[in-house]
Amino acid sequence: MNNNMIFEYELVCLIINFGQASKSLKIAKNNGINGGTILLARGTAKNTLLEFLGLNDIRREVVLMIANKDNTDKALKEIEKALNLKKPNHGIAFTIPVSNFLGCGDYDFSLKSEKRSENKNMFNSVFTIVDKGKGELVMEVATQAGATGGTIINARGSGIHETSKIFNMEIEPEKEIVLILSKISETEKIVTEIREKMEIDKPGNGIIFVQDVNKTYGLRDK
């Protein structure tokens, strides 16, 4: 396993108007991305009058997808076209490099993360996306493995195993995202533990991805 292959993967993050996430996910799936997770969010419009009247809320959706670089480029171009992202107020999209990615069935990467610098304050953010209700189990496993805390975020999403429709609407089952910040030295232990206990390597049980974090505030040593 070489590290170059790992770095071909990136996390696509779309922030778009409410109601367009399912559409984007569908386009992404047609372009080789295996699945995605959707979060509900709220934004505000920049308008003084509306702000005064308390009407400046906008409903948004955030879409997270992981794939290798070739596919994300292709998919993002299609999504940009379909959602008119070039126009103002139609949403934004960006990608973040991912250092490790697990649980996508076809691929199996070694967990050796690249030690590129000896920065003392290097942390990883570990994202685990599982079916609704299992987030707490992930937290429990992670805490036993040395994580000091974590955040569970409600989301919905679908992978390749889950595609169906009701009344011509896409269904995306509910998921939970567990976000854990861990020291690089502990990341491997935490990830391995989650991976084994949640059987992430079996298809359909969830995914894990790890990102490098440059700075953290408010984290304390045990």
Partner: protein
Amino acid sequence: MSILFQKIKDNLLAVIPIVIIVMILNFTITPIENHMLFNFFIGSLMIILGLSFFLVGVDIGITPLGSLTGSSIAKKNKLWIILLSGLILGFFISIAEPGLLVLANQIDFVTSGIISSLNILIVVSVGIAIMISVGFLRIIFNLPLYKLLILLYLIIFILSLFTTPEFLAIAFDASGATTGILAVPFILALSVGISKLKKDSKASEKNSFGLIAIASSGAIIAVMILNLFSKSINFSEEIVSNSSENISSVNSFFELIPSILKESILSLLPLLIMLLILQIFSFKLDVRAFRKIIFGFLYSFLGLFLFLAGVNGGFMDVGTFLGEQLSSYDNNFVVIIIGFILGVFTIIAEPAVYVLTHQIEEITSGYVKRKAVLTALSIGVGFAVALSVIRIMIPGIQLWHYLLPGYVISLIMSIFSPKLFVGIAFDAGGVATGPMTATFILAFINGIASGNENANVLIDGFGMIALVALAPIISLQILGFIFKVKSEKRGVKNNE
């Protein structure tokens, strides 16, 4: 797009189908006179604007208040505080509900004052207050909703053996009347506020719904018990039919303003007082957040006023007129179909339905989409209205011929269907019977009944509301089954 414009767009799409149907009927079988048609158009405009403002107000005012209240109650972590606040909140919300006030006056009138309206108000409010407390307990102790509901409906069934037919109809109507336009968003947010503090996310999700259903069963039980203690009352048919006539006699918008203004203020006042008291003693929100909630209340008030004026001034007459004209139409089948279509599209414009579907979307992070719930709800209500029309045409069918099997089916389904949908479905039953159904569809049904010699106007109207409350319970649980089957992963064994 700001939320206000988003809502205006949504509501435009919700109201336009009704306008189109009325237009088609106007040009084909039932020409409507110009004056009435003009009122109908003004009414539709007012409903679109009113709904939009109201829903924005609910979003930034009522829902945050309910959610904050729920959380602060749950954080107290003392059983007696939870029980007491359930009692106070339940009593407070229901005693000011305009729908209940109307119902109480009606019963007062029908029983020639033997049961005074004040009595009914207090008895029903106490019933709801107790049930809200029970609902709180259920959330905290994680008791499955279907078990509680089966128990409650068993009590209702036993009581119904001893109640007179008139009171049976009134009791079921009371459950629809109390879960009104403001109580629904508040109770929903309240239960979400309590249950979201739970650690177990699955339980928290399914516990978010069901409180409305429990509360409305309180109203049914209260009215039935009231009947037990006042057995000797005889209903006079004459008065019964009289009382229905003065419901739909007002027709100009201007005449309606004072009464609707009063109704809007009356329904918002208890919530406003609650907000002020809790802000001082418990929430202590910063000025910015507090100001936003106050603005929310202002929008709710404005929206409620416009909406009620539009429905009462523009839609009710057209509903009655259509019903009367259609009852003399030869082809019964066509009339039933029209009833079905009206039911399907009217429910989309029901404000509480919007709130419920919105809340479902938020809580399930968009997994259960608004459109899916709306489609199931519409089909259910469509059937309910069609069945009501059939009941008027065939005098042999009694209300309980529908209600008994309906509730038996829905309770049996509740044991098997996904628990999230059990809560949603039973809540939707209370939610569907809002002001839009209670005016437009009720007027339509009354119109058909009054054109039909062997139908009783008031009894048939009551029956319609009970059916509209029942149908979504079944149709949404069916939706739950479909969701369950469709969300299973393909090619992967589910290890749950």
